[in-house]
Symmetry: C2
Amino acid sequence: MLDDRKLAVLRAIVEDYVSTNEPVGSKALAERHNLKVSPATVRNDMAALEEEGYITQPHTSAGRVPTDKGYRLFVDRLSQVKPLSAAERRAIETFLAGAVDLDDVVTRTVRLLAQLTRQVAVVQYPTLTRSTVRHVEIVPLTERRVMLVLITNTGRVEQRVVELPEVVEDTRIAHLRAVLNASLDGCGLSAVPELVADLPERLPAEDRPAVATILSVLLETLVERHDEKIVFAGAANLAGADFTTGLRAVLEALEEQVVLMRLLGETSGDTPSALTVRIGSENPYLHGTSIVATGYGSGDNQLARLGVLGPTRMDYPVTMGAVRAVARYVSQILAAS
Amino acid sequence: MLDDRKLAVLRAIVEDYVSTNEPVGSKALAERHNLKVSPATVRNDMAALEEEGYITQPHTSAGRVPTDKGYRLFVDRLSQVKPLSAAERRAIETFLAGAVDLDDVVTRTVRLLAQLTRQVAVVQYPTLTRSTVRHVEIVPLTERRVMLVLITNTGRVEQRVVELPEVVEDTRIAHLRAVLNASLDGCGLSAVPELVADLPERLPAEDRPAVATILSVLLETLVERHDEKIVFAGAANLAGADFTTGLRAVLEALEEQVVLMRLLGETSGDTPSALTVRIGSENPYLHGTSIVATGYGSGDNQLARLGVLGPTRMDYPVTMGAVRAVARYVSQILAAS
DNA sequence: ACTTGGCACTCGGGAACACAGAGTGCTAGA
DNA sequence: TCTAGCACTCTGTGTTCCCGAGTGCCAAGT
C-alpha cells in the first residue's frame, strides 16, 4: 500500500511542516528534498497518503499537514532519535552534578530539560515505593510532640509533626527509635507496613498508644506521598505555540498533579526505560498536545518518570534525544548519591 | 485642581473600565453612576483629568482608559479594601487548617490565593533568618558520610548530605550533636554563626576537620536558603488577560526566582504587614503588570511575603481584600504550629 | 503501469471601500 | 458653572474583488 517513496514523502512533509509551520505543497516538496520526481507524482502520492489518513489539508487548495496518525508513523518508522551534541552532553553533566540534594536535582533537571527542548518539561519526584529506608529519626519537640523524619536511600526526606496522645519520656522515644531503625533499616518502603505491624506488642504496654500514633503517621506518609509530587518548568515556551485545546487548558493541566500524572503515563510494564510518545488525541485529557516521556532511575530500579509536553507539531527526533539523555544522566546522579 | 466631582468621575471610570474592559465614554458614565450631571459636564471633567494625566484615550473618539497614575490615585484615595464574605473566610480557614506541614501550608496558600483572586498568586517561603533553631540532627549514613538535618520553629526542615574528610565514630558524632543542640537550641538563625565560631576549639583536636566540614555546610544552608524559594500558582489565569509586555515575558518572570523576589518587593521597614501595591510601570522588570503584596507572619515577626500578580486592569479593592485576608490566616496557622 | 505536463477549479487571505455608531471638542445659551 | 446642540473624527465591520498557491484530473509519454 505504502511504497518507499510514499513514506519518503510523508517524512518530508513532517519535517518541512515542523520546521516551517505551514502546510506544505507538492512543488516545494519536490524541490527541497531531492525526490527525483515531479510535483505531479508527489501529488498522486499525497492523495494516497491522505486517503489512508496520514495527512490532511486544512482547506481545499492548501498544502498538506500531518495528522496524528501521520506523526505516529513518522515516529515509529521514519525517524531515529537524534543524539545530543558532545557540548550539550557536557553541559547537562556539569549542570546536574552541582545539585546539593534531591530537591535540587529535580529542580535542575526540570529546568534543564525545558531549556534543552524549548518546551514544557515535567518531572515526577522519585517514587517512595521502590526506595528503601535509610534512617528513621524521632525528634522530641515538646512533651507531647515529636517530629518524625524518614530518610530514604534516594536522599528524600519526609517529615511530619506528630501530636502524642500522652506524655512520653525521651528515653522511651530513643528506645522506639532504636527499635524502628533496627527493624526497618535498608528495607523497601513497601515492606514497612508488615514489618511494623507487630511492633506495639513488642514494646511496654504503656507506650502503645503513642507508638500506635507514630506508626500511623509513618504509614500515612508512605502512602500519601506515594507518587504525588510532580513539577514542571518552561511554561514560557507555551507562549509562542498554538494549541487546539487552548493555552488555558494546558496551563490548567500543568498545575493539576493528577492530570499531569496521567499524562506522564504509567511505566509500561516490561521496559520502563523506553521512550513513550503520545501524540495529539492519543493523550488523555489534553488532546492537541504531544508528550515524550520515559522512566528514570538506576537500571532495573525505575524510580519515576520525566518528559516534555509540547504541541503536536514538534521536532520528535530532537525532543526524544534530549529526554532520553537527561533521563540517563539524572539516573546516574541518583545512583551515585 | 481636582474637585470632588472629578474624583468621582475618575473612580467611576476605573470601576467601569475594570469591569467591562472597554474604554468608557461620557454618556455611559453619566447614566450608570448617578452623577446628577449631563454627559457634557462629564466630558469637561474628563478633559481636565486627561490634562492631568490620570486618564487617556486609546484613539480620538474612543472612551477614556485610566493611566497608571489614575489607578494609583484610585488605590490611594478613592477605594477601600473590600473585605471577604463570611463564606469565603470560612472556606479559607478550613482549607488552610488541613495542611500537614510547612510545604503543604505554602502550597495550599498559593493555590487558594490564585483561586480566590483569579490571578497568579506568589508566595515566598518563610525566611529562615528570623526563625529559631528547634533541633539539629546528625545522622550517620556511612562511615564517611552524615546527613545534617536542621529543624526550625516554623516547621521548616533543611537537610544536607555531608562528606567527611575522615572516618568519625558514631559516638563522637553523637557528642557533637549533643553539643550543637545544647548551644543552638532556641536561638535565632542569624545568631548561629557566632555561636558556632569557637566550637571546633572546644572539641578534641582529632575531630576538628570533620567538625569544620559539618559546620561549614550548616552555615551554607543558612545563607543559601535565605529567602530564595518562591512558588506561584494560577498561571492559567493569565490566558485571558492581555499584557503589554507580552505573555511570554510574564511567564518567564514567574519561573525566575530572582525577578519574582524583586517583584514581591522588600518589606517596607516600619509596617511590613501593610499592603504594597505596585502599578504598571512602577514595577521593576515587568511593566504592564500590577502586584498586590504584603508580608505575613505572626505580629512583629514577619516571615516572608505573598501576593498576586495580574494585569494593570485589575479589581484592586477585591484583590487587596483577598491578599490581606489570606496573609492573616496563614500567619495564624504558622503561629499556631 | 507508472510518471509527467497541462489545465481548469477552488478557496483563503489581503486590499480597497463604504458606512454606521460611538465619542469627542467646541460654542452658545440658561 | 452647567447644559444642549452640532459638526467632526475615528474605529470596527461588512462587502466586494482579485491574486495566487495548490489541487485534482486527464491525456500523453516512457
